[in-house]
Symmetry: C2
Subunit: 959 residues, 2 copies
Amino acid sequence: METKRDFIYTDWILTENQFNPEELHARETIFTIGNGYLGTRGSFEESYPRTLSATFIHGVYDDVPVVYTELANCPDWLPLVVMIDGDRFRLDQGKILEYNRKLDLHQGILSRFLRWRSPTGKTIDISFERFASLADHHVLGQRCQLTTLDFHGFIEIQASINGYPENKGFNHWEGLDQGKIDKGFWLHSRTRYSRIDLGMAAKMTISGIETAMQVNTAPGYPSISATFFSEPQQTITIEKIVTVFTSRDVEQPVSAAQTKLDHLPDYITLRNANEQAWAEVWEKSDITIEGDNTAAFAIRYNIFQLLIACHRDDNRVSIPAKTLSGFGYHGHIFWDTEIFILPFFTFTQPGLARNLLSYRYHTLDGARRKAIHYGYQGAMYAWESAVTGDEVTPRWSLPSDYYAEDVRIWCRDREIHISAVIAYAVWYYWQVTGDNEWLRDYGAEIILDTAIFWHSRVEFNPQAERYEIRNVIGADEYHELVHNNAFTNRLVQWHLEKACIVDDWLRCNFPEKARELEKKLQLTDEIRNHWLEIINKIWIPYNPETGLIEQCEGFFQLDDINLADYEPRQKSMQAILGIEGTNKRQVLKQPDVLMLLYLMRVSTESPYSLKSLQVNWDYYAPRTDITYGSSLGPAIHAILASDLGQTQEAYERFMQAAMVDLTDKRGNTNDGIHGASAGGIWQAVVFGFGGIQFTDNQPVANPHLPPGWTRLKFKLYWHGKWHEFDLRPTSLPPQVPNIQGIIFDLDGVLTDTAEYHYQAWQRLADEEGIPFNRQANEALRGISRRASLMLIIGDRRYSEVQIQEMMERKNDYYVELIQRITPKDLLPGAVSLLDDLRQAGLKIALGSASKNARVVVEKLGIIDKLDAIADGYSVQKPKPAPDLFLFAAQQLGLPATQCVVFEDAAAGIDAALAAGMWAVGMGPPERVGTAHIVLPSLAGVTWENLQGKFRDIALQRKP
Amino acid sequence: METKRDFIYTDWILTENQFNPEELHARETIFTIGNGYLGTRGSFEESYPRTLSATFIHGVYDDVPVVYTELANCPDWLPLVVMIDGDRFRLDQGKILEYNRKLDLHQGILSRFLRWRSPTGKTIDISFERFASLADHHVLGQRCQLTTLDFHGFIEIQASINGYPENKGFNHWEGLDQGKIDKGFWLHSRTRYSRIDLGMAAKMTISGIETAMQVNTAPGYPSISATFFSEPQQTITIEKIVTVFTSRDVEQPVSAAQTKLDHLPDYITLRNANEQAWAEVWEKSDITIEGDNTAAFAIRYNIFQLLIACHRDDNRVSIPAKTLSGFGYHGHIFWDTEIFILPFFTFTQPGLARNLLSYRYHTLDGARRKAIHYGYQGAMYAWESAVTGDEVTPRWSLPSDYYAEDVRIWCRDREIHISAVIAYAVWYYWQVTGDNEWLRDYGAEIILDTAIFWHSRVEFNPQAERYEIRNVIGADEYHELVHNNAFTNRLVQWHLEKACIVDDWLRCNFPEKARELEKKLQLTDEIRNHWLEIINKIWIPYNPETGLIEQCEGFFQLDDINLADYEPRQKSMQAILGIEGTNKRQVLKQPDVLMLLYLMRVSTESPYSLKSLQVNWDYYAPRTDITYGSSLGPAIHAILASDLGQTQEAYERFMQAAMVDLTDKRGNTNDGIHGASAGGIWQAVVFGFGGIQFTDNQPVANPHLPPGWTRLKFKLYWHGKWHEFDLRPTSLPPQVPNIQGIIFDLDGVLTDTAEYHYQAWQRLADEEGIPFNRQANEALRGISRRASLMLIIGDRRYSEVQIQEMMERKNDYYVELIQRITPKDLLPGAVSLLDDLRQAGLKIALGSASKNARVVVEKLGIIDKLDAIADGYSVQKPKPAPDLFLFAAQQLGLPATQCVVFEDAAAGIDAALAAGMWAVGMGPPERVGTAHIVLPSLAGVTWENLQGKFRDIALQRKP
């Protein structure tokens, strides 16, 4: 049990042990409850001056000036007034003798206990509880128990629905009608502009005393009240049950609410059903942390926020940036959902993830309208999205000062990476779930129509002979008008790469659907070829000297900054320097290049490598306003710092994100929960500290738990199966590696086939009449077959079918050539090392991405010296993904930590390290310097001297 | 009694005899009541779906996005629910058997009678009435009488205050507290941002039956209710009295409301006091029209709207454009108040006019902040003003369409004539009331500091050697960016002329105050000299060929338009052509040049003359969107058309303005009463049809009543006295004029002193060393002494003191020269005509603006032939004001219609016509062609041939 300020965190329960009027609004956010259908902020039943009470129902938006539309605060089901001999129970009068408020995450119940003395000296115990049923999301329960302690007196109870809710003053509702029912009432309201009908019904029961009830229907404020005379030590229980429906759910929401109310069981039965539903959800989605109570509670608290914000049935809504817990961002939906929040659902509640992504499918028409408005083709997603998918980012930040200048907000026009980011989310949903049906019916259309948007959006720069994307805002919003943002350009390239694959996949597997989409989207071969051309020629600002990626064109020419000069500070760098001030300095609001590396990390795609991560981290992390910039940053920094072995930094960033709302670190928790941060810390725990990576067959953990964590336990649903992880700290004392297996890359390590590749390409080029020679061949080193071909054909036009054919033809020639290989082609020292290792009892595997590897080792005459072969058929993901080596280790029956990889390529070293293996780099340190050991060749290498080197390194480097 | 749609207009009562749900919002506006402290829209006690109920209290503004601040709709004191055996009385259910609603203007009471049958067939008579007491503006009364007709049953009454009022959805109030009192309750609310506290208290009494009452305090919606069993034909009376105070009135508004409520007499006594107060107000402000019931009611209706909108005690508030009757323009204050509304108060409730102008004094600091913001000096009034006087015109009209462009509203930046217009209003308030104290303490500072603003705002154009005002919007808002708008430039010139006079007046009469202001405003001699230079050199776009004033630089080069081509239409030309479309065409939203002529008409100052009016009317009236442009136009057109003898046009425009709200002519009565139009039609009746003009001694009527009007009766308070007018139509049949008196101009008619003036100027110029000669003298013809001097000195710098001295010196020389005049200087025919007229028994007067006239006629030897002399000492206002001739007629004891004026100058002819006299022009028709008769000279003229000419003309020209 640990105390932070006045909070107590236990496993599942947040306890507030004193009333904090000065933190009223933040606490209302923190004590939000919900069930995915609606969220209700933690305001008091008896109200309090300047309360920001709110209930938001998914999809219930209404028009509002400047920001176009917002989630309408719905009629308030909480009001419950208690009068004690004429004194209204209220926290700003009388005396609070005891107070605690508890949010039970496991049961989804908010409760409060008070001992209160009225201004006239009468003492009473009052306890409240409430829940929004997860078992039936149209049902809300509220209970109040009163025990008079030291007086006889009249008590009056008045339970109401307040039909005048407000969005910071604005009431979106027209009261249409209301009426009385047995022991209750109903209310019928309608949103002012969007014309959504809302029906609510409520009833009250009182036990512990005999009393009559009266229904009062003040227009818009129906109430049921009872007055009774209470004796000391008498306990009275008031239960209020409310039902709610909208015309988004049913035709007749008022009668639905009444009918539902009529057929409900009693309060306790409803509460039990709610608890049961919560238990089932937690069974899948819980994360257990031991050894760190604050973190243990915080991760559950953040997961709870995600769970109560996600609709269980409706695939036309998505999770707003501030969930359903506050007025911030008006219920608009950002990339926060797809990039930060979605993975939690994909891996623990995949049906809900599918719903969230389907929202983007249903809003494609809005994205198309936006594209047309801006003069483009395809689908251009809104930076801020609501019901229709049309762009609802406000154009202006309007000052209330009579003479201050209006500030134009440019995100709607320029923050265009959202379209690639949604494609990214679709792709990984598919990768993780294998949900082909959904991809066919929904996802493919998203990926392809946004790819068509890019086709119309990129610009060709004839001077530089490259594609560019100008006039954007990247992930980092401190720079409002940049060209060739690396994050955006690479994501667009990545998006188009995947669009080609999805397009091929669809045409191959569902030709009819492919034709339908082709027609609907007007997807032509010209567009497809343009995609390939863009993939090849889009510019990613990158400095090969330093390995640094430049955030955007000219970023390094901006004024540099030392953020330490501004410490201590309590506000963002933009607040300190102004909009223009940050625009012209090298200061970031949130990760941009690092965000790109994070997104590419899961599949270790370019430009991700441990080396590039290190270089770019060193540059960008110190220039990022991680404390008061965007709340999207810290969780991502936590993961990357963890990867880089910066344990302390990783934990600090993690806790910064995990506690952002519980301790109101940014002072804006009053606006609502930081949903992206909540999703980000789930990723930080699973992908960062848990070190989860995906081989072809399963997710594997490569944990690096923060100091103090003695256990980390969770489960993931992946490829149709649950995978449980129960991780403990890895052995802490320094230890000499227990190496039991060796994995050899083939090409460049055991032999060299570069000459044969050259000859094959040359023959193809000659046949096609394309100029090509040995010098041109140099540019192909370490480049994939498709990419090599693209470089050779340049801007000549070939269809995808022709390209496929040429790749096959070149391979045929290559296979033909390698038939000539003999044992003489083995590189020096290879055979003797292989023999030495076998003699020492080590197991040996080949780990080559080539599909011809088996043929080559046969010709080399070493196939008998190998215990296993991992080749181009073994896994799908290429190096630097660890898959191939993990597959090899599995074949050898060894854990990764007992294997050494011999590699000559940077991507191979990265793959070995990503797999958690020991790495020996063959070649110059500038290429393979991140390996544990670097050797010029295998000549003269023995098992004994290798062992010695590993022993030395291990004893030095372990902490 | 006349019916328009479903309205019946009787003398004082507006009756609506059926319920029109489709006109709900317009009718809510039309049936607004108020007492100058607050206004309450005519919404129903039982409410109705989508009602726009509202109570606005003067000065209770609160912040709101985009438009900065608005009058906050205050808690609604009207809710009164009647339940009949469980059925709520409501107009959208059951059956309305009888319905009428009456607004009694004379008593300030709104009442309604209904016979209603409930859905279950129970019939009841219900009558409501309400008033906002004019006797005590914190008191509101409401009564409901019920008579059950055909049933026995339970009736439940519930009277409430709704603490959730809304400004189109936005609730400006925080509910602070509420509580019960004997037979009633109280409510304490506070505006969200401006922190104005509001206290209300209410009590209910029921007579006609015995019943208990219950107070229910649903948060923000306190109610008092009673249930009783009623027998057929039983009548029950419910009276609800409400008190209201704000923290603008008292320190403790809640206790003030409760204390006031405690001490109030019964309902009938309160109602009687209200009626008495209204009778007193009407005694002063009523206008009686006979022969035209609709007009008779409409003028009173419009006066009622002005009376209920004007605070009686508070000089820090003013009347919003939509009064206190609707949400339009957010309670902002425009020039509508000073130019259109103010004259009604100045002439019938001058104390209230003083309050309204003092509001502008109290908001000077805001105007100064605006000037600083725009980089100017002095006080630059806000186009839209609220509490502080800071500019609150919204910058943007924000579309709700996701992709539509925002429309920039330029009025805050460019519609700068407001500052001159306020000076104009101050000047005429002073002219009419002679309120020197107020001018000294308040008005002078307004006039001078705005004049300092102009000093900093005008631009000197060195090429054209003139001052210009570029980048403005004139009175006509269809042209958003113009240069040298004639209306603006001339008003600025006029403003500076009056600023010089007020400055002199203050320094002469209140030197200490003058020094104080001089210091406070940093008013230097340099600024004063600059004023004179601007007066002399500001450009008024004017075409001397045609007499036309060009609305702005280049206006005549815009595309011309024929508005008839667009008929029939139901929307404004801007709605048809778009903003750019009207910008580039010669189409006006409202009078601009004609508005200038109207403003200059009251003192017949340049460029006003009947001739210029005719020319400019012919040009601009057909190009003005008088039907759907601005509602400010029709009343002004009515007056000018009346002046020009276009009786039918005048009456049509008048009725268009008078009925704008009663018949919702523009379809926007729902937004509130058109306050400027209401004030404009008062001016149309008094100055247009009543033909009121001001001589030095009294207002005189020169009526031209519309056809059918048999009587027009009103009174005006002028120079500290009431002046009553009881006007009848002038004799209608053609009639030979009954001429009894002749008034001769002196110079150019009886003699010619031009040579002496030339010699005097020449001597002065020689002494000052300024080049001057006989040719230069030609430019001085018909120009005042000051203006002549200014032309002579050109851009040489002289102080005002030096200028005064030079004018006196020149006059001394002139007086010296005219000592040489003898009878030989009489022009040919003068003596014989004088003798002929005397012989015929006619009375003869001199009517000359010269202060030396008496000397000249003595020297000419004709002083004995004159019965009266009106000279430069007789009146203040120069020709073309009619004052001098009216003075002469008065001296002769003759009505204007029996007098003939002989004149040689255009301004003199205009003055004669303005006086309602017959005019004989001496000289070329291009100069004096508007006279009834034009003669080359007096040679050979006899009374007999003159008489013949008048007879011919009269018989021809009379209709």
